[in-house]
Amino acid sequence: MQTMMKLEGITKVYGEGDLSVEALRGVDLEVGVGDYLAVMGPSGSGKSTLMHILGLLDSPTSGSYLLDGQEVAGFSRRRLAHLRNKKIGFIFQNFNLLPKASLLRNVELPLLYGGMGKVERRKRAHEALEMVGLADRARHRPNELSGGQRQRGAIARALVGRPSVIMADEPTGNLDQQTGIEILELFGELRAGGQTLIMVTHDPAIAVRARETIRIVDGLILPNGQRAAA
């Protein structure tokens, strides 16, 4: 199996001295290309911090992080932003679509920051919307869409830059059960297409959808033996 992400001894410490908090205490993790991984853990366990580091939103205090064969720990914020733009697609619990922009413009955003020309951008954004079944909603604003449609729009935005990894943070948390299942089915299709997915959730019923689940407690990933049991 080809490796997409490889974490070794990742720590993250917030604050300094006596007030410091160790959010991650030496995490080792390997995610292969095409994996569909669920990250579970109680709140305060460090799963959000892990998510942020994996998603290049934050840098680890120590340790090594190889993304697609490239060591990224210690990158400047600027380089992280560029890399994030190319390699990571985010999906949030509350969708985080820009309310003032049409769905199409929302989906175009990553390409815009990547410096893609207008014509190509339009084309790719339309393709992404088609993939999630929202081609006819391109001109609508987020507040004119249902929750499920919004999340599918957000998925289109995450997909549009053809990222190496899609990171979803409680993607069904704000949706009713039926809609949530539809979103997870969409994830399943993406996974079948070879897309690497990492999903953070606290809901075991959702985690089982993933091919693998890891549990994180007190800043550490539970040993492999318990991985399957999760």
Binding site: L57, D58, L109, G114
Partner: protein, 410 residues
Amino acid sequence: MNPTQFLREGFVEIREHLGRALLQTLGVILGVASVVATLGMTASMDARRDQYFLESGGTLLMGVYNQPPAQLEMSARQRAKTGLKLSDAAAIRDTIDGMDLVVAEIARSLQVRAGATEERFRITAIEPEFMQMRELTMGSGRYITAHDMETAAAVVVLGSTRARQLFGTADPVGKALNINGKAYTVVGVTAKKIFFWQRSDDYNAHEWLNRLIVVPITSYMKRHQEAGAERIDELNLRLRSPEVHEESRDALEMLLRSRHGIEDFGVWDRQERLEQGAQEDMIYNVTFMACGVIALLVGGIVITNIMLASFTERMREVGVRKALGATGWQVFVQFLIEAIVVTVCGGAAGLALGIVFTFGIMSVMQMDMTITASMVIVSVASAAVVGFFFGLYPAVRASRLDPVVALRYE
């Protein structure tokens, strides 16, 4: 991300928060409006003054009049010697190159009789170049000529108002006119000259030219003064060009002082008045501009404040943009351009408001309004500068936001 995209984001931001944007840019609107109104009013009034000068002989006119020294005790003999003389005019013509036209003038109230009308009128005795100097044109007949001067011809040229007063609607050319008992013949009537400072005004600034009764100065001296009397009232002068103004004026005063022995004359000078006027304009402009600049500064502070106040509201937006790969620089440019778009729109609104204001004042004063390029440039540029400087701080803050913190913000 190219600039047009940022511009578009800026306009979207304004459209979405019209009330906030308006509040934000109110100071800029008022500041720019007051600057524009100041520029507009001075420009409009200057334009009118320049127009008047243009239509009445240009800015190169100068004049010398008698002004006996006040304190000096003078004998009757001395007093008889002082004052401007016809020979001064000749001396200026001969020695001062910078003087293009020199016209000696005497003006007196005399008894005038034409047909059945008899009344005291002011008679103006001049030299032929007066026509050129005051940009006169003929309504009928001809003006005073050099030949009239040489022969001291008994001819008279009337202004249009006087002509109508003395002869009614009939053409007076060829008709006889009697001045203090001496017979003259009317040879011409000048065309009516009109200049209104204000629209629908009843004061014609050129009317005095329409009321002139003009005779050759030699004829006047021969018929209405005792032999040998050489004194004149005034010298009308015109400079060759603005460049020779200073040297010619100095030469003029030196020449007359040396010829008269004392300073017994005064000088009026349009060029000088224009320079003084420009200086007064400057003081006026600077004062009002300072008020405008203060308003702009206050406007700028308001912009910074409102941008910072709306910051928390936009934190999540910044977080999302960063999560999608926006660099700090891209966020910085977006916020800065947004601020500049807001202020430049405010500047444009201020320009419009200033023009409306100027137009209002000018219509009350019944004057035409002049819009200059500087009004447009100053308003837009100053607004952009305010947007730039006062948008810097919020833009820097937005660009430095940690995406993790920004995303977590509820």
